[in-house]
């Protein structure tokens, strides 16, 4: 099965086209499906494009953006988005970390727990939101029913209708859905730490907390940082979960930037303005992205 000798000799002076050919399909798809629509979307964001006056679309430059920055509802939506992202990602991480710590040793039943705890991740989001909405209803929701029968509450809790509680409820559902991702990635990173490191620490007389703080945590930090950044981006842009649970209410307390953009574009039919808001969100995310790249360089495991 001898191949022509040309294959063996790797051309050094000519550019090797092999890698380019390999990435070509990906480049084509991403350009068409991801990049082109964003360019079109950015273009759309600079138009006075209102579906009500669809015959009268004019270019208006940065006016939409100026209007956005002066819009008090947008500022509050941004604050809600920040609260939501920090809360959801933060608690997801803590719960995921906690679960990973619990599951990091060999014990009977470990595999079962690991399977059960991964289930929330695989459920279809539509199903999740709808089911949780019923569970959290005050009068006939399962959660209040259980809490009441355990005598933990007397009055039904207004999970989704109370202005302060609503954000926590939404975060709770996000944690339910999102902690498995962290659990798995952190477990994987922990699995990479050789046992003799722990042995040495124990011989030196360290207790659990010290071991965690000085050995485990620093070693899972790279993976933690990177998965957290990714989760932040996904959470910030997330729309469906909150929308189905609270519709952005009560009184706008859970209206994130993505819900606000959706409303502007799809309900009030200010397509140009809605696009501008989405572009602002994109710019914000890009900042996070740049942060990720810097951190990746810092924590990169050299091959």
């Amino acid at each position: 099965m001898a191949s022509p000798s040309a294959e063996i000799r790797r051309p050094r002076k000519r550019t090797d086209t092999f890698p380019y050919k390999m990435i070509l399909p990906a480049v084509i798809m991403i350009s068409a499906i991801n990049i082109w629509p964003v360019i079109a979307g950015v273009y759309q964001s600079m138009m006075d494009y209102n579906l009500l006056r669809a015959n009268n679309i004019k270019f208006n430059g940065v006016q939409n953006f100026v209007q956005a920055l002066k819009d008090p509802d947008l500022i509050s939506a941004l604050l809600v988005s920040v609260k939501w992202t920090v809360g959801a990602v933060g608690f997801c991480y803590l719960v995921g970390l906690f679960a990973a710590l619990l599951l990091n040793e060999q014990f009977k039943g470990r595999a079962i727990y690991r399977t059960l705890l991964l289930l929330p991740w695989v459920a279809p989001p539509v199903v999740v939101s709808i089911t949780w909405r019923w569970i959290l209803t005050d009068m006939d929701g399962l959660l209040n029913h259980i809490l009441k029968s355990m005598h933990l509450i007397k009055e039904p809790l207004l999970w989704l209708s109370d202005p302060t509680l609503a954000m926590w409820s939404v975060i709770m559902v996000a944690v339910w859905r999102g902690f498995p991702f962290y659990m798995v990635t952190i477990l994987a990173a922990m699995g990479n730490i050789p046992d003799d490191v722990y042995e040495a620490a124990r011989i030196d007389g360290g207790n659990r907390w010290q071991i965690f703080r000085h050995i485990t945590f620093p070693l899972i930090l790279p993976v933690s940082v990177i998965s957290t950044l990714l989760q932040c981006i996904w959470t910030f842009n997330d729309f469906g979960l909150i929308y189905v649970l609270t519709g952005g209410g009560p009184a706008g307390k859970t209206t994130t930037l993505s819900i606000y953009a959706y409303r502007q574009a799809f309900q009030y039919l200010h397509v140009g303005y809605g696009s501008a808001i989405a572009v602002l969100a994109l710019l914000l995310m890009s900042l996070l992205g740049i942060l990720y790249l810097r951190l990746q360089k810092k924590y990169e495991v050299t091959d």
């Binding site: 390999m22 991403i30 990049i35 759309q44 029913h145 729309f239 969100a281 091959d303």
Partner: protein, 276 residues
Amino acid sequence: MTNKLSQLMLNLLRHVVLIGMSLFALLPFYWMVVTSIKPREEQMMGPTLIPKHITFEAYQHVWSETQFPAWFWNSLKVAAGSTAMALLVACLAGYAMSRYNFKGKGAFGTTLLMVQMFPLVLVGIPLVLLISKVGVMDKPFGLVLVYMTFALPFAIWMMKGFFDGIPRSLEEAATIDGCSRMQAFRLIVLPLSGPGLTSVAVFTFLLAWNEFFIAYLFLKTKLTLPIGLLTFIAQFFNQWDSLMAASTLTTIPVLVFYMVLQRQLTRGITAGAVKG
């Protein structure tokens, strides 16, 4: 003595906590299934943990009197097609990223990251216009193109990480023996990438099976499951019995798929995550 006792106590505590967390994780699934087997009147009657009567009429209704089988088949086609294509494209690109330092590699990698940040609200309308120009609106193939592309950043990242873990010496030996680079890739590297391929497959399948927003914009008649479920959420009230039964049926294949491939999956994420 106290050491053993405290060890036992800690073990017990660990189990208690894990059981608590598992119950929390299972709560919505339980509610979904339990509601779907209650008769209609009992469903509306207020929350009960144990049904008084059990009936499968909701399932029968969903399976034989609604479009559910068609949605199921559409979702399966879309998910399978997206997975196949994503695997193909991601493997090629991931291999290039792993083995070669070419001009534009950094830009490509950065692009892969950046595209994950694009809010769907922004790309929704332009994407609809683009896809309808190409003529694949309301066709499963249109969704396949979109979903495989959405999966690419994660898939390429995963495969690259996996390939990084396979020593180059194997391919080098092969090429010295007279293999072309493609052959070396196909015959040496790919067969060793089982766990990586599996995790990409599971990820893409899940993405395609569960995706909602784009499907909502694209599909009119050939609905996939998430959009089909939405039809049970009529404008002013939900048909809970059909909804819960259909939701259960929608979740089961994913659970099965996941359980079967679980071991491969965690191995794949391990290797990819740590080395990526």
